[in-house]
Amino acid sequence: MKRSIRVSGPITQTLLGCMAFAVTLFLIVPVLIIVPTSFSAGSFLAFPPPGFSLQWYERLLERDVWAESAWLSIWIALLVTLASTVLGTLGAFGLVRGSFWGQRVVLAFILSPLIIPGVIVAIAIYFFYAQMRLVGSPIAIAIAHTTIAVPFVVINVSASLQGFDRRLEMAAQNLGASHWDTFRLITLPIIRPGIFAGALFAFISSFDELIIALFIAGPRQVTLPLRMWESMKSSLDPTLAAISVIAVSISVALFFTSTWLQARAKRRTEALTETLVGGDA
């Protein structure tokens, strides 16, 4: 084997591995520390905890405000997921399948909330919504979150559509399917993993959004991140850790569900291309 092909020797390999492990540890340990802290027997946010108990989870259940905030956040996130999935999917179809003047500008415009700093988006939204007297309503939060969630759906659905073989749609029509049936029975099921992934990102981007909520939520619409932020400022008790664990668990569970769904869908289509090349009767 030529020397130039070998990227690194065993020592560099080991060093590289250690480096990567250390960086990962540094990123993930703060999140993991929350878990034992949330089961603390003490009354302050401290690590290591003096002992273990479920008292902070009990506290969560006893105090309505946390549950209220959690429900509000979930409802807003579901609304955002629905709206941004429909809008983003339609947008992706237009951008991938259509060809019109200024297409790239429109794409850049739709993706801009990902690039512009969150605070600036929040301030802009605040002033605009204030004029329209929308500030202080949960619907306003949902609309604002939809603008930042749509790009995730557009990106994911566009990726699925770009890999989509349009001859499948031609085949369906040739076999007698109307445009609606073709979409419903062929296109949609095949791009579904992309839509799911987009919807998941949309849900999470709304569920853990703080800055916009900070600007436009009224005193009675305290979303979960907002409640955590406020609790953090006033008292540092482990309730915060307990709610964080629950929030992280929801995100992780959603993430794994979607990964599993995507992997399942991928297995079928990938094997298809393999057998097309070789194989016998």
Binding site: L168, G176, R268, L276, G279, D280
Partner: protein, 366 residues
């Protein structure tokens, strides 16, 4: 082994192209074309890529709108009918099987779209899968099948609803040679059993020759020649067809004389008189001789030298060089008692004049 039930019979419809053409802005993809495919006929469009054969097929399927002309299937004008209403089966080049549906669901799809009841669907799908030999694979997904099996599913799906016309766009091009010839025979058998009209697109001349009742050779968006495989092979209308279908040795010879109804060609050592239908204007003609018609024997005063010999099993393939450098190919049947002529030997050439084709300005003279 159970005997397959008799295949459902379909009566094919004739297809008529009336001045059909397709232009994209200034580019002409298909020149105005008149053609009648007979009911139950297997017609192939054969041509190099860019010759307009796929565009023609796509117009027939309804995915391209003709610029001029009409398309008639049976008694129905389908020129401006949407693809879903045409009731024409089609097998796509990559099969276009629905990856999220099982074999059974794929084949049932056209029946489902036509509102066939579930019991009848099950019966028709089972019968069709039996016809293509895939009865045991109903529950599999396309990804779990080999290329040949996928091809059969695509065929089953395209004919299960008994369309009067079946279109096939290079359906075997992704398969290996052995499988291809097996499926060629199988497709031919099913087509004959069902009596369905087939319009087939291919760039593979062997495939077109083996399967077709008639071949329509396409070139630069127009029909170069249309006829039975034998006619095209024996009497190509022009140089392009002669070169495209099978192998041909082409060489130019000067004309000695032209007389009404015949020409006299200067063959260096002697003259050759060839009866023709039209007399050429120029002073030279191009001659085409198939490799299997070019005979030779060792002769030190011959006009060619053996350059190379290749053993191909049933025949030997000789490369013969004329003194001016022109290379000719000859096939010698491998029979007992024949000793191969070694490279370097001088040989004399001859061939039956009746098997020779003469062209002037690319057009056949005979």
């Amino acid at each position: 082994m159970s005997t397959p039930p008799p295949a459902p019979s379909i009566s094919g419809s004739p297809v008529r192209f009336e001045g059909l053409s397709k232009t994209y802005g200034p580019v002409t993809a298909v020149k105005p074309m008149d053609l009648e495919v007979r009911a139950g006929e297997f017609l192939s469009f054969l041509g190099p890529s860019g010759s307009g054969k796929t565009t023609t097929l796509m117009m027939l399927a309804g995915f391209e709108t003709p610029s001029t002309g009409r398309l008639i299937v049976g008694d129905t004008d389908i020129t401006s009918m949407p693809p879903a209403k045409r009731n024409i089966g089609m097998v796509f080049q990559n099969y276009a099987l629905f990856p999220h549906m099982t074999v059974e669901q794929n084949v049932a799809f056209p029946l489902r779209m036509r509102g066939v009841g579930p019991a009848e669907q099950t019966r028709m799908v089972a019968e069709m899968l039996d016809t293509v030999g895939l009865a045991d694979f109903a529950g599999r997904f396309p990804a779990q099948l080999s290329g040949g099996q996928q091809q059969r599913v695509a065929l089953a799906r395209a004919i299960v609803f008994k369309p009067p016309v079946l279109l096939m766009d290079e359906p075997l091009s992704a398969l290996d040679k052995y499988l291809r010839s097996r499926l060629q025979m199988e497709i031919k058998r099913i087509q004959r059993d069902l009596g369905i009209t087939v319009v087939y697109v291919t760039h593979d001349q062997d495939e077109a020759m083996t399967m077709s009742d008639r071949i329509c050779v396409m070139r630069d968006g127009g029909i170069a020649q249309i006829g039975a495989p034998e006619t095209l092979y024996r009497a190509p209308a022009d140089e392009f067809v002669a070169g495209f279908l099978g192998e041909s040795n082409m060489f130019t010879r000067p004309l000695k004389r032209t007389e009404p109804g015949r020409i006299v060609i200067d063959m260096a050592r002697d003259d050759l008189v060839l009866p023709v239908r039209q007399t050429p204007a120029g002073t030279a003609v191009k001659l085409a001789v198939r490799p299997e018609h070019l005979h030779f024997h060792p002769d030190d005063s011959g006009i060619a030298t053996v350059r190379d010999v290749t053993y191909v099993g049933d025949h030997r393939r000789y490369e013969l060089a004329l003194d001016d450098g022109t290379l000719l190919v000859a096939k010698q049947q491998e029979t007992d008692g024949i000793t191969p002529v070694p490279p370097g030997a001088r040989v004399a050439l001859d061939w039956p004049a009746g098997q020779m084709r003469a062209f002037a300005d690319g057009v056949a003279l005979q």
